[in-house]
């Protein structure tokens, strides 16, 4: 089964969310009009990224992160330019130029920076190759996609797109049930944590915005990020008139009435007859 398309129809945020929730392993190649990116994932985490035809050497990554001087970088490239990143990393640690933490942080940041560049792409053919791993000689640093998605979404500026994705503010939210999901290791801003404290199927998004004095745009941006990161899901609001907001010490928010369910307009015996007939098709 192919996972391919164009970013015009299925954005990068949605793609990352899919990879994250499905815990996919493989490589996502994106060909934008002027650039190309390759992103590697392992069990739903980003482990490697490259931009364009250049695949930056570890020495260059460490130089950009301020861990090596220009002189050191020049020397290393001249003498060990063809050495694999993994081997070079061990050598640099042994001679005391950098620590293991320096390498992991620098490579991780480099990967994230590429990812955030790709976030701004709105056009480009993508294709996901399952089980394709990053190049053997590169250092893979796992990065949680929830944080990438949240940060990428924070950078997302188009109000029009947010309105398109979340047109109805009279829906409510609840936390998803995914195993292993918790809010401790997720980096949320102050405004996002304020929204989190109101999340309850009885509170509509509009009510949460009012309680926090947020504009439609602000609440859409925050909720969209959480939806894409798989932290929350949309539900019909529960409850009727006198339901207070969950957070103690705050003013009450008047809920909107929940939509009532209607029974199907048919007797059981009719449905059983239909089933019998359809089975004979």
């Amino acid at each position: 089964m192919a996972l391919k398309g164009n970013l015009r129809d299925f954005g990068i945020t949605q793609l990352l969310n899919l990879v994250n929730l499905a815990r996919k392993t493989g490589m996502l190649s994106i060909e934008a009009p002027t650039q190309e990116a390759k992103l590697s994932f392992k069990e739903g985490q980003l482990v490697y990224a490259s931009l364009g035809s250049q695949d930056e050497h570890l020495a260059q990554v460490l130089f950009k992160a301020g861990k090596l001087t220009q002189e050191q970088t020049r020397t290393i490239l001249a003498r060990a330019g063809k050495t694999s990143d993994k081997r070079l990393g061990m050598m640099l640690i042994e001679v005391g130029y950098v620590t293991q933490d320096d390498i992991l942080m620098s490579v991780g940041k480099h990967t994230q920076d590429i990812m955030f560049q790709v976030f701004s792409w709105s056009d480009g053919n993508f294709r996901f190759e399952p089980n394709m791993l990053p190049p053997e000689d590169r250092i893979a640093v796992p990065i949680k996609l929830e944080n990438i998605i949240m940060e990428g979404t924070r950078r997302l500026k188009e109000l029009e797109q947010l309105q398109d994705e979340l047109p109805n503010l009279d829906m409510a939210l609840r936390f998803t049930d995914r195993p292993g999901t918790n809010l401790r290791n997720i980096n949320l801003g102050v405004e996002e944590w304020r929204v989190v404290s109101f999340i309850n199927p009885r509170n509509t998004i509009r009510q949460i915005a009012q309680a926090n004095s947020m504009s439609d745009f602000q609440i859409r941006r925050i909720v969209y990020g959480m939806l894409q990161a798989g932290l929350v899901e949309l539900v019909r609001p529960e409850g009727m008139e006198k339901v207070p907001v969950t957070r103690p010490g705050t003013r009450a928010v008047t809920p909107s009435p929940a939509q009532s369910r209607r029974p199907p307009p048919v007797k059981r015996s009719v449905v059983e007859r239909l089933i019998k007939r359809i089975k004979r098709l």
Partner: protein, 182 residues
């Protein structure tokens, strides 16, 4: 002669998702459709496009008939959806698994029908026989479909596949009836 009871299931989904084929595969009459002059570039995907509803019929017995109504795919026929949703037993949302550019519209249609009538529904990922089809599991995530909602593989030209979709919807209707009786 007694009155014949008619019941209705609506088949909906984006333009060119396969609604006409779905109904045609199981209907005992030819699906009602009307040729019209193609006026927009996007509609050239199909050889002809429908302006009337897709309409199919399955006779159950002497006093019960099931009608299958297909909603027009074009946005300008949105007003038909509210009319079609009145009194329906349930509905099927067809997804074109090969065209991710239609996923957003599919999601919008799903939300619209749920708002019109909170009756049982299933989602059918059509064209699963094609190489470029997105996997069902990926579609569930991509369209943010609740885990409790049935999302089923479908090939609208295959009778067994269509039968399976309709059966699953009917089972969901039974479950809803049982839940109401409790």
């Amino acid at each position: 002669m007694g009155t014949v009871q008619t019941v209705k299931i609506v088949i909906t989904g984006p333009f060119s998702a396969g609604k006409t084929e779905f109904i045609q595969t199981v209907s005992e009459i030819d699906v009602v459709s009307t040729e019209r002059k193609i006026s927009s570039e996007s509609e050239r995907i199909k050889e002809r496009t429908t302006v009337a509803m897709d309409f199919g019929r399955i006779t159950v017995d002497d006093d019960l008939v099931l009608y299958l109504f297909g909603t027009p795919g074009q946005k300008r026929f949105d007003f038909m959806w509210e009319i079609l949703s009145e009194g329906m037993l349930g509905f099927v949302v067809l997804i074109d698994s090969v065209r991710p550019e239609t996923f957003r519209e599919a999601r919008m249609i799903l939300d619209t029908f749920r708002a019109y009538a909170p009756t049982p529904y299933v989602v059918a990922a059509n064209k699963q026989d094609m190489d470029d089809a997105w996997a069902v599991d990926d579609l569930r995530i991509a369209l943010r479909i609740d885990p409790q909602i049935k999302l089923l593989p479908c090939v609208a030209t295959d009778r067994e596949s269509v039968r399976n979709i309709l059966l699953e919807l009917l089972y969901s209707i039974l479950e809803e009836l049982d839940a109401q009786e409790v």
